[in-house]
Amino acid sequence: MTDLNNKYEAVIGLEVHAQLLTKSKMFCSCANQFGAAINANICPVCTGQPGALPAVNRQAIELGVRAAMALNCQIRNESIFARKNYFYPDLPKGYQISQYEKPFCEKGSLTVRLKSGEQKQFGITRIHFEEDAGKNVHASHGTVVNLNRAGVPLIEIVSEPDMRTSHEAGQYLRALHSILQFGDICDGNMEQGNFRCDANISVRKRGDSKFGTKVELKNINSFRFVEKAIEYEIERQIDLVEKGEAIRQQTRTWNSSKNITELMREKESAHDYRYFPDPDLAPLVISEAWIKSIRSQMPEMPSQVLARFQKDYALSEYDAGVLTATKELASFYEQTAAKSKNPKASANWVANELLGRLNAAGKEIANSPVKAQQLGDLVTRIDQGEISGKIAKTVFEEMFLTGRNPAEIIKEKGLVQISDTGAIEVAIDKVIAANPSQVADYKAGKVKLLGFFVGQVMKETQGQANPGMVNELVKKKLD
């Protein structure tokens, strides 16, 4: 495909739906909560009862404005809610309240780092508010409509068609995800569907200025799948063009078990949503004063945390980058460092040992069996000489498997480092007595044998002797 990839380029734009981390729904006071019992969080408003009316949730607006600020968007002081009309069982009012002609913000940008090390800026066309739909749950006795999600606040973030590769799209998504998470705007849990991505993809010959016919990929629920789906789609489209076939305007979906995209519907069956301004809601006014107060409460953004980690904890850009990949990880690291008071060693333990171990176990930092306090405690025990770095790895593995505290494990397994001069001297005497010829060689000038003696003493003490002390005492005895 390389030749073809030189001949063609892909044009990719992404639409992300992010559920806002509000206490209540967009237009009523029902809880915004994932995983509640079916239809536990519903009321006349979000179930579309006759006569019920929407009332805007200010917290949702504030979180949306945060996103707009983090993505450098221009905020409109007066925007309009519009109705998007269509029939679907999970849509109780027969329309979704959204924004259409006048969204609350437009014209933003997001800069991301690519694997080449290059920084690239992608345009954000607009962000608008809307309410989520419910969910049809298919059960043995038929279909049940669960309206807990109906009316949950969303922002839809629409990018410019600025991406050219699946990698760029993936990095854009990761950066966006991280911003929303750090801003406490969206939980970002893709499996629970609170961060959902649609991708628009077309291909054209390099050098062409006109876009090709686009295909929309819907509801892809992981970064990796987005990348794979885009790669597949680019190849599929190039293939069609090479064969002289027309690309049809379609909506397709990613089948992650077959690793292909599949047709959902043709453009011909596209809806006419009959958008019009919602007469139940006055224009949404976001005053400069409100914007100012929202700005003053803006949480730290990933780039700010990264800079702070480098400055305050003297971490390398690489380590700081790894530790700020997600909000949870950054917060885990900070707790570990606060407990251990050794930021550098904590960074190594979190970034290398813990992440490696989590990765091997297929776990996320949020479900880490080792808690930040425990890991910080472990680092402290190394620093205080209670255990050696080597023993610490054994202790860590045990902590990871059982979730127990390091002190307990060290005590139970008798892993406390021997720093008692007398005990170490007894071991040294034993080793000297058992190796007379090596002692003679050493005394004759073969000083490299020092390492041999230290090793033997460590073996004698099952690795628990303080290596620094052993070194010192062996030398003293033999010299």
Binding site: P44, T47, G48, Q49, P50, G51, A52, L53, P54, A55, V56, R83, N85, F87, Y88, P89, P92, K93, G94, Y95, V145, D272, R274, F276, P279, D280, L281, A282
Partner: protein, 483 residues
């Protein structure tokens, strides 16, 4: 005490204060009147004797509240497109047959907080679409002044219940004249408040940017009292105003027309029944005698009101009525194959003819390719109509029109000709488009002794002066003796 049901609110409140009768006696009197007259009138679709008597007994236990509460022990009929918890709410449609309200509308909650007794749910045109109450899925309602004739609509049941003395007052809703036109045809005082004056929460939406809930009563004082109770900002309705609510009924004492100017538009009188025209001219004379000045005004764009209304209202309705789909509540077609046939059949069988007509009109007007020419254009002309009125209010303090071009017409007379029916609202529609307050008050009887109504249109949120004007007219013309 058999005539308690025909007392007006003011007399009821005075009677309670003097301990002349109990709430239970009044409630029983109303219930008796209902069982006697409602079978003919079909004004009320649901009456719950148990709930009414229980509420009356509860109020009698708290007699001391009679001094404090603005509507203590006043039985009120509620149009069946306004929700009252546990009562049915059908909006006159088969698609909501059997639907029980899971919550209470803000207006009704406010009435109850002031001691009112919900007496029953009043018949209305299906989803408030109609001017004769004939589009109700539960049969037409009849005019107490002449049982062969319609009470007007869409709040026909509310008007017939009050005019027929089943109760002293009722709530209606007005999207294009649905309170004022039946008030006119039944000889009542009906108020369409300024848009945003009264909460729409719990009132079934027909056209959200036009709908307002309001009272129908026998006197200006009664309607003013109900209006002041239901008015005011509501956190559940984002379109309500925070403007303070004066005590309208108390302010009526200070009613005067001195120095006030009324505007009227000569061209509007063309094609109006001669009897209506005569009564209208008589009213102008009365107002003049009371010290007001009458000036001629021009409202050039209001001639487009009917066209504008029949684009905007159906457009909003097509979306507002999408929720009646047979999935979540209400009527569901007995047989269907999939969600598509479930929708089509439930809506096809559940909605009546007029509702389907308007849904189709609205769907068309909002469709891609037609939106700009229809819906958008209509919203632009609507602004010009609003401008017409603000220009007029530079020359006068209120605008006078007949409420309806004719008195009550016979059942079936216009029901096959939608355009003829739509013309019943030609004087009332512009008021909704402009968001203004207006009141219809009785101003005469025709040769058949059928009531004629006068419409007074006020400045936005100027209900106080509007009602004072109406009160002066009432004091000169008198109150009709209801059949």
């Amino acid at each position: 005490m058999s005539s308690l049901h025909s007392l007006d609110i003011q007399s009821l409140l005075a009677g309670y204060q003097k301990n002349d009768f109990s709430v239970q006696e009044v409630a029983k009197s109303c219930l008796e009147a209902i069982s006697k007259k409602n079978p003919q009138l079909n004004a009320l679709l649901e009456v719950s004797k148990d709930r009414v008597l229980a509420r009356a007994a509860e109020l009698d236990q708290k007699k001391s509240d009679a001094q404090r509460l603005k509507l203590f022990g006043v039985p009120i009929a509620i149009k069946d497109n306004i929700l009252v918890k546990d009562w049915q709410c059908t909006a006159g449609s088969k698609i909501l047959q059997g639907y029980r309200s899971p919550y209470t509308a803000t207006t009704v909650a406010r009435l109850e907080a002031e001691g009112a007794v919900v007496l029953g749910k009043a018949n209305c045109d299906e989803f408030a679409m109609g001017s004769s109450n004939e589009s109700s899925a539960f049969g037409p309602c009849r005019n107490p002044w002449d049982l062969e004739r319609v009470p007007g609509g869409s709040s026909g049941g509310s008007a017939a219940a009050v005019a027929g003395s089943l109760c002293p007052a009722a709530l209606g809703s007005d999207t294009g004249g649905s309170i004022r036109q039946p008030a006119s045809l039944c000889g009542l005082v009906g108020i369409k408040p300024s848009y945003g004056r009264v909460s729409r929460f719990g009132a079934i939406a027909y056209a959200s940017s036009l709908d307002q809930v309001g009272p129908l009563g026998k006197t200006v004082w009664d309607s003013a009292r109900v209006l002041e109770v239901i008015s005011g900002w509501d956190r559940f309705d984002a379109t309500t105003s925070k403007a303070p609510v004066p005590s309208y009924s108390d302010a009526l004492k200070e009613s005067t027309l001195k120095g006030l100017k009324f505007g009227f538009c000569k061209s509007w009188l063309e094609g109006v029944d001669p009897a209506v025209q005569k009564a209208f001219e008589n009213s102008m004379q009365l107002l003049k005698q009371a010290g007001a000045e009458i000036v001629e005004i021009d409202l050039p764009y209001t001639k487009y009101s009917l066209s504008v209304y029949y684009l905007i209202a159906p457009s909003e309705a097509s979306s507002n009525l999408a929720r009646y789909d047979g999935v979540h509540y209400g009527f569901r077609a007995p047989e269907f194959k999939d969600s598509e046939t479930l929708y089509n059949r439930s809506r096809g069988q559940g909605f009546g003819k007029e509702v389907k007509l308007r849904i189709m009109l609205g769907t068309y007007a909002l469709s891609a390719g037609y939106y700009d020419a229809f819906y958008l254009k209509a919203t632009q002309v609507r602004k010009m109509i609003q401008q017409d009125f603000s220009n007029a209010f530079k020359k006068c303090d209120a605008v006078l029109t007949p409420t309806s071009p004719s008195t009550a017409f016979k059942l079936g007379e216009k029901s096959d000709d939608p355009l003829k029916m739509y013309l019943s609202d030609v004087f009332t529609l512009p008021v909704n488009l402009a968001g203004l307050p207006a009141v219809s008050i009785p101003c005469g009887l025709d040769d058949l002794r059928l009531p004629i109504g006068l419409q007074i249109i006020g400045r936005p949120f100027d209900e106080l002066r509007l009602l004072q004007m109406a009160r002066v007219h009432e004091s000169l013309f008198g109150v009709l003796k209801h059949p």
